[in-house]
Symmetry: D3
Amino acid sequence: MTRVDGRSTGDLRPVKITRGWLDHAEGSVLVEFGRTRVLCAASVTEGVPRWRRDSGQGWVTAEYAMLPRATNTRNDRESVKGRIGGRTHEISRLIGRSIRAVIDYKALGENTIVLDCDVLQADGGTRTAAITGAYVALADAVAYLETKKALRGQALKDTVAAISVGVVDGEALLDLCYEEDVRAETDMNVVMTGDGRFVEVQGTAEGEPFDRKDLDALLELAGAGCAELAQFQRDALARTL
Amino acid sequence: MTRVDGRSTGDLRPVKITRGWLDHAEGSVLVEFGRTRVLCAASVTEGVPRWRRDSGQGWVTAEYAMLPRATNTRNDRESVKGRIGGRTHEISRLIGRSIRAVIDYKALGENTIVLDCDVLQADGGTRTAAITGAYVALADAVAYLETKKALRGQALKDTVAAISVGVVDGEALLDLCYEEDVRAETDMNVVMTGDGRFVEVQGTAEGEPFDRKDLDALLELAGAGCAELAQFQRDALARTL
Amino acid sequence: MTRVDGRSTGDLRPVKITRGWLDHAEGSVLVEFGRTRVLCAASVTEGVPRWRRDSGQGWVTAEYAMLPRATNTRNDRESVKGRIGGRTHEISRLIGRSIRAVIDYKALGENTIVLDCDVLQADGGTRTAAITGAYVALADAVAYLETKKALRGQALKDTVAAISVGVVDGEALLDLCYEEDVRAETDMNVVMTGDGRFVEVQGTAEGEPFDRKDLDALLELAGAGCAELAQFQRDALARTL
Amino acid sequence: MTRVDGRSTGDLRPVKITRGWLDHAEGSVLVEFGRTRVLCAASVTEGVPRWRRDSGQGWVTAEYAMLPRATNTRNDRESVKGRIGGRTHEISRLIGRSIRAVIDYKALGENTIVLDCDVLQADGGTRTAAITGAYVALADAVAYLETKKALRGQALKDTVAAISVGVVDGEALLDLCYEEDVRAETDMNVVMTGDGRFVEVQGTAEGEPFDRKDLDALLELAGAGCAELAQFQRDALARTL
Amino acid sequence: MTRVDGRSTGDLRPVKITRGWLDHAEGSVLVEFGRTRVLCAASVTEGVPRWRRDSGQGWVTAEYAMLPRATNTRNDRESVKGRIGGRTHEISRLIGRSIRAVIDYKALGENTIVLDCDVLQADGGTRTAAITGAYVALADAVAYLETKKALRGQALKDTVAAISVGVVDGEALLDLCYEEDVRAETDMNVVMTGDGRFVEVQGTAEGEPFDRKDLDALLELAGAGCAELAQFQRDALARTL
Amino acid sequence: MTRVDGRSTGDLRPVKITRGWLDHAEGSVLVEFGRTRVLCAASVTEGVPRWRRDSGQGWVTAEYAMLPRATNTRNDRESVKGRIGGRTHEISRLIGRSIRAVIDYKALGENTIVLDCDVLQADGGTRTAAITGAYVALADAVAYLETKKALRGQALKDTVAAISVGVVDGEALLDLCYEEDVRAETDMNVVMTGDGRFVEVQGTAEGEPFDRKDLDALLELAGAGCAELAQFQRDALARTL
C-alpha cells in the first residue's frame, strides 16, 4: 500500500528540529513533522507556584494553542471566545505530563519552566510534534540553568518523544497526516522515553472498536517511530546552538 | 497481597446500578462502584444540532461534573469560577466518545440524547463508573424512543463499560479506589464493548515510565473487569423498571 | 377543594430527611419534600475569609444549584454557560441569610461552614427544602466541631425552616408543588425560626396584586407549616447517625 | 425619637421626580429620594424576544446598576470584573417583576420596553427609588407609543411605587437612609400599586428574627409611604414635559 | 458654511462644567459639551497598586463607560455581555494617559486616584468631554489631598483638555456633534496641556486618506479649542465649591 | 548620534517580507522589522457578516495577538485569562481601520477577508510591522479571489504601510526598537498609503508633552519611512509566489 504522500506504513514524515528560533526564550524550537509546524518556547523563572514553595523542588508545565489559520479553514481565537476549548485543555495537560515524566524535580531546584507549544501550521500530529519539540526546548532551558549554576544535579532523567499511529483501511500506519487522520478507524498517540518505555498510551476507536491484535501492531510501529525521533532529538541537541 | 479494602488484585468493588432514580429523565441511573456514586441522566430531545440537520442521523453527547463536596475536601464550583477546568472537559469528552462507539446514528434518527453524569460522591474511578452507568441510562432512553416509535432500527450496536486499572507497589490492580489511585505508579482507564473490543485505552505513567509487560498485565485485568461490568449492565436492564 | 395530589390546603407533602448521605462531608442531608429532592452538604474549614480574620467570629455561607436534568426539560449547566443566573444567585443568598439567622458567630469561633444545596430533582419548593435540609446538615457540622472542641459555646441559637405558600384559584395553599406553583396568583416563601419568628418573608404577585387579607392567610398557613418542619428537623436530629 | 436627618418615623425624605432628563430615551426620569439619585431610562423597541413572538403580547424588562462611585467608597465595575453580582441580579429582577405587575401585555402589543435604572448616587433605598422612577419613565414611554398609534388599549393598569421600611432601635421607620439601613434589625421593601395592593413584600431579619407585630407595623408604614409616592408620580406625570 | 446647529467652523458647543455633582467622591464634575453629558468622579485611596509600592510615587488611572441609553438606540451593557469592548478599552486608556501627563507622581505621594467617566448622554465628543471634565475632578481630588496634608509638593504640573476636530464636506470643523461625526471624512482627537503642547494626537481617515494640509488645518483648530477649554477649566476651578 | 544598533536617525531596521509562509491561508506573510517577527495570514470566506448582507459590499477585519514568549519575559495567554486586554483590542482595531482604508468594498463583492497578525517575536514596532505585512497578505488574498473570478473590479485602491517614529534624547528617530521605545519621550505611529497620504496618525507624549516642531519632524521621518516600506511591499509582490 502506498500512502497519500508516498510513504510506506512505517515511515515518519520529514522531521526538522530548529533550535534557537527565538531570541528571548531560554529554549526555543521550531519543530516540523512534514507540513505540521509547531513553535516550542521554554521560559524559565526563578521560584515555583505557591503550593510547591519551600519543597526544594521545581515545576514544569505546558500550554498548547493553535493560531487561527493553522488549519484549512480559520478557527475563532479562544481569547476572543473568552474560553479555552476541551481539546486545547486536553492537549496542554498531555504535553505537561509527558514532559514531567523525564524531570528530576529535586535536581531542578525551585525553578519553573513553562513550555509554550503554538501550532503555526497543522497537518495532523500537532500534539506529538509539540511533545517532541518541547523536549528539545526544555533541554536547552535546562542547559541555560546549568550555565547559571542553578541546578542541583542532572535535571533530565531521559529524553521523551511522541508519535501518532492509526489504522487506516485496515492497515496500521505511523505518523498520520491530516488526510489519513480523518479516515482512521483507530487513532493512537504514544509517548515514550529514550529507553523505550511508555509515558502515555492513548488509543481511541474512531469508528469500529479495535481488538488486541490491532493494539499490538500499533504499539510496535509507535515504538520504532519514537526511537527514530529520539535520535532526531539527540542529533539536534548535538549541534552547536 | 491484600488491598486497603480487603479485595484481591482482580476484584471489582461492590457495583450497584439503580435505574429510574429520577422521575423526569427519559433514562436515569445511580451507579455505585464502592463509595463512588454517580447520577447519570439521559435527556432526549427531538432534532439535532444545526451542523447535523437533514442528515437523517442522530447525535449523542455527554457532560461530566462533580458536586463541590463529592470529595474529601470541598472544591469550588466551576459555575462560580466561570470556567470549566481541563479535567472536566477531558472526562466529558471521553464519556461522549465512549458512548457514541455503540450508537447507530441512522437508527437513532434525528434525535439527540444528552448524558449528564454528576458525581455525587467520589472515591476513585468516577469516569469509569460514569461511562458504565451512562450506558444503562442511554439504553433506557433508547427504549423510551422505541415506545414513541421514533427509531429506525436497532440504535444500540453493543454495550459499553469502563474500568480503571493501575500498578501499585509493583502490582497490577483492578478498579482503584482513591487511596490506591494516588499511590499508583501507572494508571489506566479502559473502555470496552460487550464483545470484548477496545473503545479507549488511556494509560499514564504517574511516576516511572512503564514497559510492555506492565501494559499487557493491565489490559488483561481490564478485560476481565469490563466483562463483569457488562454482566451487571445486562442484569440491571433485565429488571423491570 | 382537593389539590392535584390529593392534599388538603394546609398539608405538607411527605417530608423525608436522611442524614449522613455522604461519607466525606462534616454534615450531609438528602431532604425530600414530595418529589423535590435536595442534597445538602456542610463543609467545615478552619479559618475565615480575609475580611473577617482576627475578629474571633466564624462565617457561614451557602451555594444553591440545580442538576441539569432536575427539571422536566433539561437546562444548560451554568458552568458551561460560564455565568451564574440571577435565580441561582438570589436563592444562594436567601439560604445564606436564613442559615446565618440562627448562628452565634462568636460561639462558632474562627471557623467557616459552607452549605452546598444541590437540587437533584425539582418539583416546586426547592429553596424551602434546601433551607430546611441545610439546617440539619449545619447542625451535624456544628456537632462535629463540638467533638473537635472547636466551639466556644452554643453555636446554634435556634432551628430554622422554610416553606412556600401561595394563592391558587383564590385559595391559600401550603407547600406548592410545581404544577400548583405555575398556576399561583401569589407566591410566598417564608423562613421561620423554631420559636415562630420570621427570618424572611418574600411574597410576590404573579398575576393580580394581593391585598392584606391574602397576606394574612398565607402567613398563618406558613407559620403552621414551619412549625411542622421544625418537628421533622428535631426528629431527624434525635436519630442516631 | 428624632432620626439622623431630623425626620419623624413616618416621613419620606424629600422626593423629586424630574421627567425628560435625557434627550434620546422614549421616557426618562431622574428620581431623588434625599441624596439617593437614580436615572431611569425607558427604551422602546418594536417587536418582542423570540420566545414571545406571534403572541400578540408585549414585554417589559429592567436592568439595575450602580456607578462605581455612587457609594462612599468606590466599587469595581461589574463590566471590568466580567460578571454581574448577585445583588445586581436580584434587584434587576425585582424591578422587572414590579413594573410588569401594572402592564397589560395585550394592550402593549408586540413592543418591548427596557427600563434601565442606573444609580448615580446611593444613600439607601436605591431599589425603591428605581421602581418609583421607572414607573414614571414607563408611563412616558407608553405615552410615546400611544402617539405612534402602536397600542391596542390602555397598557397601564395602575401605578406602582416602592418604599423601604425597617426597625431601628426597636422603632419602625419609613424610607431608611444608608446610615439607618446599616443599623436596622429588620429591613423590608414593599412594592404597591396605586390602589393599595401588594406586588412584592420582602422582609429580612438582619439581626434578631422579627415577630408578627413588627411585620404589621412595617406594612402599615409602607402602605402610607407608597400612597404618598403614588401622589408624587401622578403630580409629575401631570406636568407638561 | 453653517453647521447643523448653527455654529461656525471654529465654535465649541456650549460648555458647562458643574463641580461637586456627587456628595461622596473626593472630586466630581458633570461636564457638558452641548448635549454630551459626562459624569466624572475622582476617587482617592491611600496606597498604590502592588507593582508601584515603596516607590514613593502615586498612581492615577481612568475608566470610561456609557450608560445603555446614552445613545440614540439602546446598547447592551458590557457587564451583561461579560466583557468590555475594544472601544471602551481604548478610550479608558486614552483618558488615563492624558491625565497622567500632568501629574507629578512624586508630589502625589503613594496615593491612587481613579477617574470614572460615565457618559450619561452622548452626542459626539464623549472622550474629549471626559478628559476635560476629568481634569477638573482630578484637581478637586488633589485639593482634597492637600487639605489632608497628604501631598509632597505641587501634584499638578499643568491643566489638560481635549477636543475633537474633523473634516466634513471638505471643511475643517471644531468639536463635532454626532451628526457631523458620522459624516466626517477625517476625525481627530487632540489632547493638549494648558501651555499649548500636545499630549495625544489621534487622527483617522474615515473615508479618503488625508494630506498634510488637512492635518495642519485640524491641528490649528484644535489648538484654539483646547485653549478655550483650558479657560473654562480655570473658571470652574476658580468658583467656590 | 549613533543608535543602539548602529543605525542613523532615519534608517529602518532590515525589513524582510516572506510571502506564502503558510500552506493553507489564501495569503500569508512572515514580516520582519529587525528582530520583530509577525506572521500575517489572510483568510477568505464567501459571504459577509449579517449586518452587511445584501449590500453587495465586502468586509475586511483584523485580529492581532502575541505569543506568550514573544517578549523578554513571558506573558500569560489572553485565552487563559479569559479576556482580551485593552492593548490587544486597540491594535486589532488599528490594523483593521488601516487595511480597510485601501479596500474598495464594492469591487470586493460579498466576500470577507480576516487578517490574523500573530507576533512570534517582539522587539518594538509590532503593530506597524503587522500593518505592513498584512497588506501584502491581503494583496495575495485579493489575487486569489481574482483567479476565482470573485471580484467585481479592482479591490485594492492603493498600498498601505505603517512605521513608528519617536523622540529619544531629544532626537527624532525612525522605526524604534524596543530599547528605544521604552526610552522615548514621544511615540508616534503613522499609517500611510502608497501615494503619501495619511490613514492614521497616533502620537503620544510618554514623558513631557511635545510641541508642533517635534510633531513636524516626526511626520517627515515617517513619510520617508512609509515610502520605503511601500517599495518593499511592491518588490515582495513582484516576486513569483
